[in-house]
Amino acid sequence: MAFLLFLLAASAFAESPPSLPSTLSPVSTPAREILSLSHFVLLITGSIFAVVGGLLIYVIFRFRARGPDSEHEPAQVYGSVQVELAWTVIPVLIVVVLFLTTARIIFAIQDAPEPQSALDVTVVGHQFWWEFRYPKLGIVTANELHIPVSTDSNPAPTYLKLLSADVDHSFWVPQLGGKTDLIPNHPNQMWIDPHTPGLYLGQCAQFCGIEHAKMLLRVYVDSPEQFAAWVKNQEKQGVDDQTVAAGRRVFESQACMNCHTISGTAAKGTFGPDLTHLMSRATIAAGAAANTPDNLRAWIQDPNNFKPGALMPAMQLSDEETNEVVAYLSTLH
């Protein structure tokens, strides 16, 4: 019965809008193939559950002790070779079918050759944020991945190379595909080819320390035009606006530049996210807060406001310096 509920609920949730990070609303080939494979497996396991569970319920009601004749013991049966052979062979056959189906999908997804038109992105996991590098485009960004939509007429899958700078992490955006771990000294790879533009949510799926829960992921699947525009903007150097020069001075004279890069300036740190185009991102702190000037100010004053345990220290700036830095950062479109 629990299993029937399972099936019912699974189909009910399948209607959920695509912005939820559900495995039931795939928009990419690997996720779709997994979902249809899972339907097949559910059908088999669901049937087994119905038959065996049904037998158990029948036994419970049919053979419960009733009335006063409990003095008599029932007939003692010690076993039956034929019956036992039957319920050994049938499961073996089921396993064969399940395995062959599974193996087909494993090879189809995992060993798919990388086409020429693929986009390469290197994903580096950090405690507790994501670094995205586009080696062919010379772009570095963080926490919000932009990739082009991939259609039948214009296939543009994205191949992710997964690395880690510190501990194990796992890249999981359920609507786009299964997860793959980011392990130091152990490069991994996965691919996705989203068919529908939109924003897809995910997060780190391997416990990586205190702020594992706030290592969120946003994947923007852009139309070809949007993606081209985004790339064009990202390839620029950091905006150099003289009206916020004071903030830039603070940024470059304090510890900020030790960890963060803003291209075109002296700031070349790589320990924290690249801030060259900070304002092109909707969130800060790996999705822990919206990217607003107030949140930026609170974050710089003390990252523990959003993410207790984040590795960025409280910067101990005066209010004036903080405001100047926030004003500077706010120009980095």
Partner: protein, 562 residues
């Protein structure tokens, strides 16, 4: 001179004071080498930690009941789930099952004690001190966040999060050392059980006349020897990394994080069977007695158990489908994992066949065992789903996995532990547990269990990962998490009823007599509780159900068994 009373403390004719009598009683428990007393110590110890780890689980559930909750800090949350997992596996699951083995195996095979009584006591105290060491970290462990930090790296403690660079301080050391210490205790008990079963059986009790309980404990003990060893080795390597400059798992110096995973899961997966086979052992005793029938297919049950043990050694990397193994590797571990379904299927069918045609009495032990069969079936089927590697890429480390293994660990193992306690408590204490409270306990726990763990499958499918101390409100998980937490509270209430039942029935329960369930194995031929020497005369058996033969002299088992 002869009639003069000498003031010798503790002399026979001075009545001891109350305090002295208490000390005497306490002393008798500390120095005991009696398998029954050690069994009780194991079980009481495990039940204590069951409550502790249960409270930790409730802290987790309160924190997750609503999104962006601030009930506990991330530091405390990470400690809670690490300690909950570690405690439940190492300080509850293994000790309680070894406790039952300790108490019951000698009685069932007609022996007067374990083969090595002193090793037995040593093993228990090692396990006990391992637990104390682990929990002392709450007071003495200096971690990343100051004094009083418990381990917070997850019970799987993946490298390199455990390296000095990422886990400074001592809390990870408490975790590793506690498991080494209790691991030695576990190995001692396993050796002891094997030796006892192989060499201490009474006259007439061939291996194939042993109760299935003893058979399963033999298999479990063998499996324990194989699985605890790599864990202990890995912990020692971890300590070498942390203190002697080793680089086994230190990725910054070229070590391998994946090697830790292999070590941990070559232990960790068979460990599941170390825990669940004793649950099968309990069901193998309870289901026949309450169905009033001999177990169906005894030889098949034995070979299925041995088969499970062997297959379980080949499946460990199904915990690692997402670490980037080759496609062939993934396919291999998918197949080996699916094959576990064959012997476990045989077991479920044999339990059903045992019940078929019986006259089933639904006393509390049987209620728990019946629920166990249903839940273990479900757990096995979700296990098949997880073995489908591509689907596992989605489900791994999600709440679906949490739901699956709690179906095994709670739905199968804890349910069977409760069944065992209701079933053997009369033998151990001489008093019956209250049936009325037992039924309350069962139904509340059953309902709470299903509310919690059925729903957990769905949040996993909806994309909620494990080990997160909080979640965003816009992910579609809010309502389900609230329901899960309510289910957790219901289970907590049921356990309180159980604890009350244990205490109240000990003081006021009905007298049990030797054989309250009209059962068939040798332990029920002894008084309740059994005397220190177990059997006044060495028993002699001719079949798997010696008491059935006694009760039915015209229709004894040995005429029909095969």
């Amino acid at each position: 001179m002869a009639d003069q009373i000498l003031p010798i403390p503790g002399s026979l004719d001075t009545a001891p004071s109350r305090g002295a009598a208490f000390l005497e009683w306490l002393h008798s428990w500390v120095v005991t080498v009696d398998h029954k007393k050690l069994g009780i110590l194991y079980i009481v110890y495990a039940l204590f930690f069951l409550l502790v780890a249960g409270v930790e689980a409730l802290v987790i559930r309160i924190q997750l009941a609503i999104p962006n909750n601030h009930f506990v800090s991330p530091e405390v949350y990470n400690e809670m789930f690490t300690m909950h997992g570690t405690t439940m596996v190492f300080l509850v699951g293994m000790p309680i099952l070894f406790g039952f083995a300790n108490y019951l195996v000698p009685l069932m095979i007609g022996a007067r004690d374990m083969a090595f009584p002193r090793l037995n006591a040593f093993s228990f105290w090692m396990t006990a001190f391992g637990g104390l060491l682990l929990y002392y970290s709450f007071i003495g462990g200096f971690g990343l966040y100051g004094m009083g930090a418990a381990p917070d790296v997850g019970w799987w403690a993946y490298a390199p999060l455990t390296a000095k660079a990422f886990s400074p301080g001592h809390n990870t050391d408490y975790w590793a050392l506690a498991l080494i210490v209790s691991g030695f205790g576990t190995l001692g008990t396993a050796i002891n059980i094997i030796a006892t079963i192989l060499s201490m059986r009474c006259r007439g009790m061939t291996l194939f006349r042993m109760p299935l309980f003893s058979w399963l404990m033999l298999v479990v003990s063998g499996l324990t020897l194989i699985t605890i060893t790599p864990l202990t080795a890995a912990q020692i390597m971890l300590m070498i990394d942390r203190y002697l400059g080793g680089h086994f798992f230190d990725t910054q110096a070229g070590g391998s994080a994946v090697v830790w995973m292999h070590f941990f899961w070559i232990f960790g997966h068979p460990e599941v069977y170390v825990l669940v086979l004793p649950a099968f052992a309990i069901a193998n005793e309870v289901i026949p007695v309450f169905s009033r029938k001999a177990i169906f297919g005894y030889p098949a049950m034995v070979s299925a158990s041995v088969g499970i043990a062997f297959v379980s050694l080949t499946v460990w990397a199904h915990h690692m489908f997402t670490v980037g193994m080759t496609s062939v590797g993934n396919a291999f571990f998918a197949l080996s994992t699916m094959m576990v379904g064959i012997p476990t299927g045989i077991k479920i069918f044999n339990w059903l066949a045992t019940m078929w045609g019986g006259k089933i009495r639904f006393a509390t032990p049987m209620l728990f065992c019946t629920a166990f069969v249903m839940q273990f079936l479900m757990a096995g089927l979700t296990g098949i789903m997880l073995s489908v590697a591509p689907w596992n890429w989605q489900l791994h480390n999600s709440y679906f996995v949490i739901a699956h293994f709690h179906y095994v660990l709670v739905g199968a193992i804890v349910f069977c532990i409760f069944a065992a306690i209701y079933y053997w408590y009369p033998k151990v204490t001489g008093r019956m547990l209250s049936e009325k409270l037992g039924k309350w306990h069962f139904w509340l726990f059953f309902i709470g269990f299903h509310i919690t763990f059925d729903i957990m499958h769905f949040v996993g499918i909806l994309g909620m990962p494990r080990s997160i101390y909080t979640y965003e409100a816009d992910r579609g998980w809010n309502t389900l998490n609230m329901i899960i937490s309510i289910g957790g509270m219901i289970q907590g209430a049921a356990v309180l009823i159980f604890v009350w039942n244990l205490i109240d029935s000990y003081l006021h329960g009905d007298a049990a007599g030797n054989d309250p369930w009209d059962a068939w194995t040798l332990e029920w031929s002894t008084p309740s509780p059994p005397p220190a020497y177990n059997f006044a005369e060495d028993p002699v058996v001719r079949s798997r159900r010696p008491l059935w033969d006694l009760k039915h002299p015209n229709d004894p088992d040995w005429k029909y068994e095969r």
